[in-house]
Symmetry: C2
DNA sequence: ATATCTGCAAAGACTTTGCATGAGA
DNA sequence: TCTCATGCAAAGTCTTTGCAGATAT
Protein backbone atom coordinates (compact mmCIF):
# COMPACT_ATOMS: atom_id res chain seq x y z
CA UNK A 1 0.00 0.00 0.00
CA UNK A 2 1.44 3.33 -0.99
CA UNK A 3 1.98 6.31 1.19
CA UNK A 4 -0.92 8.73 1.20
CA UNK A 5 -0.92 11.99 3.01
CA UNK A 6 -4.29 13.53 2.49
CA UNK A 7 -6.80 10.80 2.37
CA UNK A 8 -7.68 7.72 4.21
CA UNK A 9 -7.47 4.92 1.68
CA UNK A 10 -9.93 2.77 3.52
CA UNK A 11 -12.46 5.53 3.53
CA UNK A 12 -11.97 6.30 -0.15
CA UNK A 13 -12.11 2.68 -1.17
CA UNK A 14 -15.12 1.96 0.92
CA UNK A 15 -16.90 4.85 -0.59
CA UNK A 16 -16.05 3.82 -4.10
CA UNK A 17 -17.03 0.22 -3.48
CA UNK A 18 -20.18 1.36 -1.80
CA UNK A 19 -21.37 2.68 -5.12
CA UNK A 20 -20.78 -0.60 -6.87
CA UNK A 21 -17.57 0.66 -8.42
CA UNK A 22 -14.24 -1.09 -8.32
CA UNK A 23 -10.89 -0.26 -6.87
CA UNK A 24 -8.24 -0.48 -9.56
CA UNK A 25 -4.59 0.50 -9.87
CA UNK A 26 -5.57 3.48 -12.01
CA UNK A 27 -7.95 4.77 -9.42
CA UNK A 28 -5.40 4.32 -6.69
CA UNK A 29 -2.92 6.22 -8.77
CA UNK A 30 -5.32 9.12 -9.19
CA UNK A 31 -5.99 9.23 -5.47
CA UNK A 32 -2.27 9.17 -4.83
CA UNK A 33 -1.67 11.93 -7.32
CA UNK A 34 -4.26 14.11 -5.66
CA UNK A 35 -2.68 13.42 -2.28
CA UNK A 36 0.67 14.91 -3.13
CA UNK A 37 1.41 18.50 -2.33
CA UNK A 38 0.31 20.98 -4.90
CA UNK A 39 -3.39 21.15 -5.00
CA UNK A 40 -5.62 22.63 -7.70
CA UNK A 41 -4.26 20.19 -10.24
CA UNK A 42 -5.46 20.15 -13.81
CA UNK A 43 -6.42 16.81 -15.34
CA UNK A 44 -3.16 16.81 -17.25
CA UNK A 45 -1.19 17.32 -14.04
CA UNK A 46 -3.07 14.57 -12.27
CA UNK A 47 -2.33 12.39 -15.26
CA UNK A 48 1.40 13.03 -15.09
CA UNK A 49 1.58 12.41 -11.38
CA UNK A 50 -0.60 9.34 -11.60
CA UNK A 51 1.59 7.95 -14.36
CA UNK A 52 4.41 7.66 -11.87
CA UNK A 53 2.32 5.17 -9.91
CA UNK A 54 0.64 3.52 -12.84
CA UNK A 55 2.74 4.02 -15.96
CA UNK A 56 0.14 2.77 -18.40
CA UNK A 57 -2.67 4.94 -17.21
CA UNK A 58 -4.47 6.88 -19.91
CA UNK A 59 -5.66 10.44 -19.79
CA UNK A 60 -9.22 9.35 -20.48
CA UNK A 61 -9.16 7.18 -17.40
CA UNK A 62 -7.96 10.11 -15.35
CA UNK A 63 -10.87 12.18 -16.57
CA UNK A 64 -13.28 9.34 -15.87
CA UNK A 65 -11.89 8.80 -12.41
CA UNK A 66 -11.94 12.47 -11.52
CA UNK A 67 -15.52 12.67 -12.67
CA UNK A 68 -16.39 9.68 -10.53
CA UNK A 69 -14.69 11.14 -7.48
CA UNK A 70 -16.42 14.45 -8.02
CA UNK A 71 -19.77 12.70 -8.28
CA UNK A 72 -19.12 10.94 -5.02
CA UNK A 73 -18.28 14.29 -3.47
CA UNK A 74 -14.73 13.27 -2.69
CA UNK A 75 -13.13 15.72 -5.03
CA UNK A 76 -14.12 19.24 -5.91
CA UNK A 77 -13.83 20.53 -9.43
CA UNK A 78 -13.48 24.20 -10.14
CA UNK A 79 -12.32 26.65 -12.76
CA UNK A 80 -10.19 29.67 -12.05
CA UNK A 81 -10.81 31.32 -15.36
CA UNK A 82 -8.27 29.68 -17.62
CA UNK A 83 -10.75 27.17 -19.00
CA UNK A 84 -9.02 24.18 -17.52
CA UNK A 85 -10.87 22.27 -14.86
CA UNK A 86 -8.97 21.90 -11.61
CA UNK A 87 -9.40 19.29 -8.95
CA UNK A 88 -8.60 18.84 -5.29
CA UNK A 89 -9.74 16.73 -2.38
CA UNK A 90 -12.98 18.02 -0.98
CA UNK A 91 -12.66 16.36 2.39
CA UNK A 92 -12.76 19.09 5.02
CA UNK A 93 -11.20 16.76 7.55
CA UNK A 94 -8.13 16.23 5.38
CA UNK A 95 -4.78 17.71 6.29
CA UNK A 96 -5.43 20.80 4.28
CA UNK A 97 -8.87 21.48 5.66
CA UNK A 98 -11.59 23.59 4.19
CA UNK A 99 -10.32 26.63 2.38
CA UNK A 100 -11.07 29.02 -0.42
CA UNK A 101 -9.05 30.44 -3.26
CA UNK A 102 -7.38 33.70 -4.10
CA UNK A 103 -6.57 33.76 -7.81
CA UNK A 104 -4.23 36.07 -9.66
CA UNK A 105 -6.00 37.12 -12.84
CA UNK A 106 -2.70 37.87 -14.49
CA UNK A 107 -0.44 34.88 -13.85
CA UNK A 108 -3.00 32.41 -12.60
CA UNK A 109 -1.32 31.79 -9.28
CA UNK A 110 -3.69 30.26 -6.73
CA UNK A 111 -3.36 30.92 -3.02
CA UNK A 112 -5.34 28.92 -0.51
CA UNK A 113 -6.58 30.84 2.44
CA UNK A 114 -8.39 29.87 5.56
CA UNK A 115 -8.37 33.24 7.24
CA UNK A 116 -12.02 34.01 7.18
CA UNK A 117 -13.19 30.47 6.99
CA UNK A 118 -14.87 30.51 10.35
CA UNK A 119 -16.97 33.57 9.63
CA UNK A 120 -17.51 32.54 6.06
CA UNK A 121 -18.63 29.11 7.09
CA UNK A 122 -21.08 30.55 9.52
CA UNK A 123 -22.55 32.89 6.96
CA UNK A 124 -22.58 30.21 4.30
CA UNK A 125 -24.43 27.89 6.59
CA UNK A 126 -27.10 30.45 7.19
CA UNK A 127 -27.22 31.29 3.51
CA UNK A 128 -27.54 27.63 2.62
CA UNK A 129 -30.41 27.18 5.00
CA UNK A 130 -32.16 30.29 3.78
CA UNK A 131 -31.65 29.64 0.10
CA UNK A 132 -32.61 26.05 0.53
CA UNK A 133 -35.90 27.12 2.04
CA UNK A 134 -36.62 29.94 -0.36
CA UNK A 135 -35.64 28.28 -3.62
CA UNK A 136 -36.15 24.65 -2.72
CA UNK A 137 -32.60 23.69 -3.55
CA UNK A 138 -30.84 20.87 -1.80
CA UNK A 139 -27.47 22.55 -1.49
CA UNK A 140 -24.41 20.35 -1.56
CA UNK A 141 -21.42 22.61 -1.95
CA UNK A 142 -20.19 26.08 -2.65
CA UNK A 143 -17.30 27.90 -4.19
CA UNK A 144 -15.80 31.21 -3.20
CA UNK A 145 -13.02 32.76 -5.19
CA UNK A 146 -11.39 36.15 -5.03
CA UNK A 147 -9.69 37.50 -8.13
CA UNK A 148 -7.01 40.14 -8.27
CA UNK A 149 -3.38 40.83 -8.91
CA UNK A 150 -0.76 39.01 -6.90
CA UNK A 151 2.22 40.91 -5.47
CA UNK A 152 4.47 39.95 -8.39
CA UNK A 153 1.99 41.01 -11.02
CA UNK A 154 1.33 44.37 -9.41
CA UNK A 155 5.01 45.19 -10.27
CA UNK B 1 -29.62 54.35 -30.99
CA UNK B 2 -31.16 51.13 -29.84
CA UNK B 3 -33.06 50.49 -26.71
CA UNK B 4 -30.93 49.25 -23.85
CA UNK B 5 -32.27 48.22 -20.53
CA UNK B 6 -29.36 47.35 -18.33
CA UNK B 7 -26.53 49.58 -19.27
CA UNK B 8 -25.89 53.18 -19.91
CA UNK B 9 -24.58 53.34 -23.45
CA UNK B 10 -22.71 56.54 -22.85
CA UNK B 11 -20.93 55.04 -19.94
CA UNK B 12 -20.06 51.86 -21.80
CA UNK B 13 -18.90 53.72 -24.86
CA UNK B 14 -16.85 56.17 -22.90
CA UNK B 15 -15.15 53.38 -21.11
CA UNK B 16 -14.36 51.55 -24.30
CA UNK B 17 -13.10 54.67 -26.03
CA UNK B 18 -11.12 55.53 -22.97
CA UNK B 19 -8.98 52.53 -23.60
CA UNK B 20 -8.25 53.53 -27.13
CA UNK B 21 -10.75 51.06 -28.48
CA UNK B 22 -13.49 51.78 -30.95
CA UNK B 23 -17.24 51.65 -30.88
CA UNK B 24 -18.52 49.49 -33.67
CA UNK B 25 -21.84 47.96 -34.62
CA UNK B 26 -20.63 44.56 -33.47
CA UNK B 27 -19.73 45.86 -30.05
CA UNK B 28 -23.04 47.62 -29.76
CA UNK B 29 -24.77 44.41 -30.67
CA UNK B 30 -22.94 42.50 -27.96
CA UNK B 31 -23.83 45.11 -25.38
CA UNK B 32 -27.44 44.96 -26.54
CA UNK B 33 -27.45 41.19 -26.34
CA UNK B 34 -26.16 41.26 -22.80
CA UNK B 35 -28.80 43.80 -21.88
CA UNK B 36 -31.72 41.61 -22.70
CA UNK B 37 -33.32 39.51 -20.03
CA UNK B 38 -31.77 36.16 -19.44
CA UNK B 39 -28.42 36.60 -17.89
CA UNK B 40 -25.58 34.08 -17.62
CA UNK B 41 -25.39 33.78 -21.39
CA UNK B 42 -22.88 31.56 -23.10
CA UNK B 43 -20.84 33.00 -25.95
CA UNK B 44 -23.04 31.14 -28.38
CA UNK B 45 -26.17 32.66 -26.88
CA UNK B 46 -24.70 36.13 -26.96
CA UNK B 47 -23.80 35.48 -30.57
CA UNK B 48 -27.34 34.51 -31.50
CA UNK B 49 -28.88 37.49 -29.75
CA UNK B 50 -26.29 39.86 -31.15
CA UNK B 51 -26.92 38.56 -34.65
CA UNK B 52 -30.41 40.00 -34.46
CA UNK B 53 -28.91 43.47 -34.18
CA UNK B 54 -25.92 42.90 -36.41
CA UNK B 55 -26.65 40.02 -38.79
CA UNK B 56 -23.12 39.67 -40.10
CA UNK B 57 -21.43 39.42 -36.76
CA UNK B 58 -19.08 36.50 -36.34
CA UNK B 59 -18.68 34.26 -33.33
CA UNK B 60 -15.00 35.16 -33.08
CA UNK B 61 -15.89 38.81 -32.75
CA UNK B 62 -18.30 37.97 -29.96
CA UNK B 63 -15.54 36.17 -28.12
CA UNK B 64 -13.16 39.05 -28.70
CA UNK B 65 -15.68 41.59 -27.53
CA UNK B 66 -16.62 39.64 -24.44
CA UNK B 67 -12.97 39.31 -23.58
CA UNK B 68 -12.53 43.03 -24.00
CA UNK B 69 -15.52 43.84 -21.83
CA UNK B 70 -14.30 41.44 -19.19
CA UNK B 71 -10.88 43.05 -19.22
CA UNK B 72 -12.47 46.43 -18.74
CA UNK B 73 -14.39 45.01 -15.81
CA UNK B 74 -17.75 45.67 -17.44
CA UNK B 75 -18.67 42.04 -17.79
CA UNK B 76 -18.02 39.14 -15.52
CA UNK B 77 -17.12 35.74 -16.86
CA UNK B 78 -17.78 32.62 -14.89
CA UNK B 79 -18.21 28.90 -15.24
CA UNK B 80 -20.92 26.90 -13.57
CA UNK B 81 -19.32 23.55 -14.19
CA UNK B 82 -20.44 22.72 -17.69
CA UNK B 83 -17.23 23.93 -19.29
CA UNK B 84 -18.89 26.76 -21.12
CA UNK B 85 -17.95 30.26 -20.11
CA UNK B 86 -20.88 32.44 -19.15
CA UNK B 87 -21.10 36.19 -19.21
CA UNK B 88 -23.18 38.91 -17.60
CA UNK B 89 -22.95 42.59 -16.85
CA UNK B 90 -20.79 43.20 -13.84
CA UNK B 91 -22.14 46.63 -13.07
CA UNK B 92 -23.56 46.54 -9.54
CA UNK B 93 -25.57 49.67 -10.27
CA UNK B 94 -27.38 48.02 -13.13
CA UNK B 95 -31.01 47.03 -12.88
CA UNK B 96 -30.17 43.58 -11.74
CA UNK B 97 -27.75 44.64 -9.05
CA UNK B 98 -25.10 42.61 -7.40
CA UNK B 99 -26.05 39.01 -6.90
CA UNK B 100 -24.68 35.53 -6.64
CA UNK B 101 -25.61 32.22 -8.19
CA UNK B 102 -27.33 29.06 -7.12
CA UNK B 103 -26.59 26.32 -9.63
CA UNK B 104 -28.35 23.01 -10.08
CA UNK B 105 -25.67 20.40 -10.57
CA UNK B 106 -28.12 18.16 -12.36
CA UNK B 107 -29.90 20.29 -14.96
CA UNK B 108 -27.64 23.34 -14.88
CA UNK B 109 -30.37 25.78 -13.98
CA UNK B 110 -29.00 29.03 -12.55
CA UNK B 111 -30.90 31.07 -9.99
CA UNK B 112 -29.78 34.55 -9.07
CA UNK B 113 -30.19 35.45 -5.47
CA UNK B 114 -29.61 38.61 -3.54
CA UNK B 115 -30.90 37.41 -0.22
CA UNK B 116 -27.73 37.43 1.76
CA UNK B 117 -25.98 39.98 -0.33
CA UNK B 118 -25.83 42.56 2.42
CA UNK B 119 -24.20 40.28 4.94
CA UNK B 120 -22.08 38.63 2.31
CA UNK B 121 -20.90 41.95 1.02
CA UNK B 122 -19.92 43.04 4.47
CA UNK B 123 -17.98 39.88 5.11
CA UNK B 124 -16.43 39.95 1.67
CA UNK B 125 -15.28 43.49 2.19
CA UNK B 126 -13.56 42.54 5.40
CA UNK B 127 -12.11 39.44 3.79
CA UNK B 128 -10.86 41.47 0.86
CA UNK B 129 -9.13 43.93 3.14
CA UNK B 130 -7.61 41.19 5.24
CA UNK B 131 -6.49 39.03 2.36
CA UNK B 132 -5.17 42.01 0.54
CA UNK B 133 -3.00 42.87 3.50
CA UNK B 134 -1.87 39.36 4.28
CA UNK B 135 -1.17 38.11 0.78
CA UNK B 136 -0.43 41.36 -0.99
CA UNK B 137 -3.16 40.84 -3.57
CA UNK B 138 -4.95 43.72 -5.17
CA UNK B 139 -8.40 42.20 -5.16
CA UNK B 140 -10.76 43.17 -7.97
CA UNK B 141 -13.67 40.78 -7.82
CA UNK B 142 -15.09 37.64 -6.34
CA UNK B 143 -17.39 34.80 -7.17
CA UNK B 144 -19.72 32.90 -4.90
CA UNK B 145 -21.68 29.94 -6.16
CA UNK B 146 -23.79 27.40 -4.38
CA UNK B 147 -24.30 24.02 -5.98
CA UNK B 148 -27.11 21.60 -5.33
CA UNK B 149 -30.25 20.05 -6.67
CA UNK B 150 -33.10 22.26 -7.78
CA UNK B 151 -36.68 21.40 -6.81
CA UNK B 152 -37.36 19.67 -10.13
CA UNK B 153 -34.25 17.53 -9.99
CA UNK B 154 -34.89 16.41 -6.43
CA UNK B 155 -37.93 14.56 -7.83
C1' DA C 1 -18.52 -15.48 -14.35
C1' DT C 2 -19.65 -11.08 -15.56
C1' DA C 3 -20.33 -6.38 -15.00
C1' DT C 4 -17.04 -2.88 -14.65
C1' DC C 5 -12.60 -0.70 -16.27
C1' DT C 6 -8.92 0.41 -19.25
C1' DG C 7 -5.96 2.34 -22.94
C1' DC C 8 -5.97 4.01 -27.35
C1' DA C 9 -7.48 6.66 -30.97
C1' DA C 10 -11.01 9.26 -32.90
C1' DA C 11 -14.50 12.50 -32.23
C1' DG C 12 -16.55 16.53 -30.07
C1' DA C 13 -17.11 21.07 -27.97
C1' DC C 14 -15.58 25.38 -27.01
C1' DT C 15 -12.31 29.03 -27.92
C1' DT C 16 -8.44 31.31 -30.25
C1' DT C 17 -5.68 32.77 -34.15
C1' DG C 18 -4.22 34.30 -38.96
C1' DC C 19 -5.09 37.13 -42.53
C1' DA C 20 -6.89 40.16 -45.98
C1' DT C 21 -10.56 43.42 -46.05
C1' DG C 22 -13.27 47.05 -43.97
C1' DA C 23 -14.10 51.06 -41.10
C1' DG C 24 -14.03 54.28 -36.80
C1' DA C 25 -11.78 58.66 -35.16
C1' DT D 1 -5.03 58.44 -42.97
C1' DC D 2 -3.86 55.03 -39.99
C1' DT D 3 -4.76 52.13 -36.56
C1' DC D 4 -7.96 49.11 -34.89
C1' DA D 5 -11.74 45.73 -35.78
C1' DT D 6 -14.14 42.17 -38.54
C1' DG D 7 -15.52 37.86 -40.70
C1' DC D 8 -14.29 33.61 -42.16
C1' DA D 9 -11.98 29.45 -41.86
C1' DA D 10 -8.40 26.91 -39.93
C1' DA D 11 -6.08 25.59 -35.87
C1' DG D 12 -5.77 24.73 -30.90
C1' DT D 13 -7.07 22.95 -26.36
C1' DC D 14 -9.40 20.52 -23.28
C1' DT D 15 -12.63 16.75 -22.65
C1' DT D 16 -15.59 12.88 -23.99
C1' DT D 17 -16.77 8.69 -26.42
C1' DG D 18 -16.43 4.02 -28.80
C1' DC D 19 -14.65 -0.29 -28.52
C1' DA D 20 -12.34 -4.64 -27.85
C1' DG D 21 -9.55 -6.63 -24.51
C1' DA D 22 -8.39 -6.90 -19.48
C1' DT D 23 -9.77 -7.04 -14.65
C1' DA D 24 -11.93 -6.80 -9.92
C1' DT D 25 -15.06 -9.10 -7.02
Amino acid sequence: MRNRKNHDPNCCCRRIRGHGRRITPSRHAVLDALSERGDHLTAEEVFKKAARFCPNIGLATVYRTLELLAELGMVSKFDTGDDKARYEFADPTAAKGHHHHLVCSSCGKIVDYKDFIKEETELLHRAEKGLSKKYGFDIKSHIIQFFGLCPDCRR
